[in-house]
Symmetry: C2
Subunit: 350 residues, 2 copies
């Protein structure tokens, strides 16, 4: 008897069926710039009209072991939002507007409904970011992933006028550091979070914690906020008074804020200026996890840091809040001299 590709574990028909579902999910994300979306060899997207000297900005990321929470709970329609968020929130930090997004979805045995749920989240994320889901790859890789598991990678491209690139050069001592609230862990630190919650505390994803007002799984799966529209409004409102943007991902505040500061500058943060989401308190107490480790692993409630000129503070807060974000003054830019990277973020006395 002869051997077929299907015998070898690859179901081309299931892949084709998923592509048809993806086309329907991607349709609402289509923007006027899209010339050709899902289905061709490649996605085609024009640039916004009237740009003088466009620079392309691109970022790629995954969702990390947050995926394990999706596997454990069977909830697959939010990790796609996280995927878009992680990529798009990087791209906007240089002042770019997201144009389009592509995803890579790989699994051992393609389950149509799981694949569709994942892409539904991706399409939702693209709508929140205002970018087109332009293409993607669904890979069925027998033997590489455990049953019911998958990995995701995302890729976002945005565009910015060369003269409007945020490179941090305008940041100066006295600038205002604005915190923009995260929705929880976002998509970083899940290996540590799960280690503490599951192994140290013996919790399962369906356990309900009074501290959280939800199950552990629900708290961990809260989708990452997408700041694209809020940042676009902020840039429209403030222009050059926006000096820098930092997406708070792995490494936390001390690992990410210095990435957008000129040499010799740091920030002093007032950690009492915001309340940490309760999930972080549960993890810190449950480990226990030391404060320094918490700070360099998690966003601790701050998903985006915006640095603006002092006289633009009120306008910045107003623009961010009008866009639906929680935003507050979290500190200020200071001169720190030649100190190690992470020491450029200091905390005022509690």
């Amino acid at each position: 008897m002869s051997v077929t590709y299907r015998d070898a574990g690859v179901d081309i028909d299931a892949g084709d069926a998923l592509v048809e579902r993806i086309k329907r999910l991607a349709a609402p994300t289509r923007t006027p710039h899209v010339l050709q979306g899902i289905g061709g060899f490649a996605g085609l997207c024009a640039l916004p009209e009237g740009m003088q000297d466009p620079v392309l900005v691109s970022g790629t990321d995954g969702v990390g072991t947050k995926l394990k929470v999706a596997f454990a709970t069977g909830v697959h329609d939010t990790v796609g939002i996280d995927l878009v968020a992680m990529c798009v929130n990087d791209v906007i930090t240089v002042g770019a507007r997201p144009l389009f997004f592509l995803d890579y979805f790989a699994t051992g045995k393609l389950e149509l409904d799981v694949g569709e749920a994942v892409v539904r989240g991706i399409a939702e994320g693209c709508q929140r970011a205002g970018c087109a889901l332009l293409g993607g790859e669904t890979a069925e890789l027998p033997g590489l992933y455990a049953a019911g598991e998958y990995d995701l990678a995302g890729f976002a491209v945005g565009v910015v006028e060369r003269g409007k690139i945020l490179d941090g050069k305008r940041v100066a001592p006295g600038d205002v550091v604005i915190g923009v609230a995260s929705s929880g862990l976002h998509s970083n630190g899940y290996s540590l979070a799960r280690r503490v919650l599951e192994r140290e505390m013996g919790l399962s994803m369906t356990d309900r914690l009074a501290d959280l007002g939800s199950t552990v799984g629900e708290a961990l799966l809260t989708p990452t906020r997408i700041y694209a529209r809020a940042v676009a409004d902020l840039l429209d409102a403030l222009g050059d008074a926006v000096h820098a943007l930092s997406h708070i991902t792995g490494g936390g505040l001390p690992g990410n804020i210095p990435r957008v500061l000129p040499d010799g500058l740091g920030v002093r943060l007032d950690a009492t200026s915001w309340e940490r989401p309760r999930i972080f308190q549960v993890i810190a107490a449950g480990g226990p996890v030391e404060e320094a480790e918490m700070r360099r692993t998690f966003n601790l409630g701050v998903g985006l840091v915006v640095i603006v000129a002092r006289d633009a503070e009120d306008r910045a807060l107003a623009a961010l809040r009008a866009a639906g974000e929680q935003a507050w003054v979290a500190g200020e830019v200071i001169a720190v001299g030649d100190v190690p990277f992470e020491d450029r973020v200091v905390y005022s006395a509690p």
Copy 2:
């Protein structure tokens, strides 16, 4: 005792060390268009100067279970070439020139030397394609990948003038179908190939087959050819006489050629016009795998199909050969009427 991120299986120092190595590997791929490469939140790349109405062209792909051959042989520095090839060869089919590339590399436990070897291949692929390695993500995901295994996803962006987009509309009956040689399986059909070679034939990757003149592993790991420079030369030489380009991936010739043809048109191929690489004969006999299954799973020796105007045949062959490709007349475009997709590729009597 407190719990740390490292306890949870994530080694940030190893990740940072790999980023430093990646920066060195990416440096030679830098093009004049790159404003900011590896290391920032996002990669920045300008457009080539003098473009009138640039359209961005983007594709994403993985390497599939060809990775399993890398795991089995311990040879990790060629799958990166495949990764770039799979993405870039898609992007060029619409007439675009590749601009930049980003990769996603995910593993359970980061092994620095393996990660560096993979990225060395990616950088080599980018050089062959003439595009910049602009960014990437290295994800350490404890528990998602088996020890020593990883997955790869790639994203390529190219650019084309709107008026030069190859959309297949100029294809007409009588056009010449030119085959451009593949180097072997490229990156498709590995689940079937391994099933036949390992399970049906009982071979291991280190077995040497006289038919192949190499070990099984060496034959399977042959890097995918990257056609970007040859296609750029072809477009420069022929201009509008190039009517369509098809990258022969999963689905083979019957699954990919119709994707670039107008309704009602097909191609008649002379399968005796080229010799199949011996690896395909070994697989077909070893399965056995029926001819129809071989045709819809593998490229069978044709990695790229170029469709040109009849009077441009000689110039097309000359341009492709001058660029180092093996190219030959493999058939012609014919009217087929309203037939099922795969029936639009017919074979002349052997």
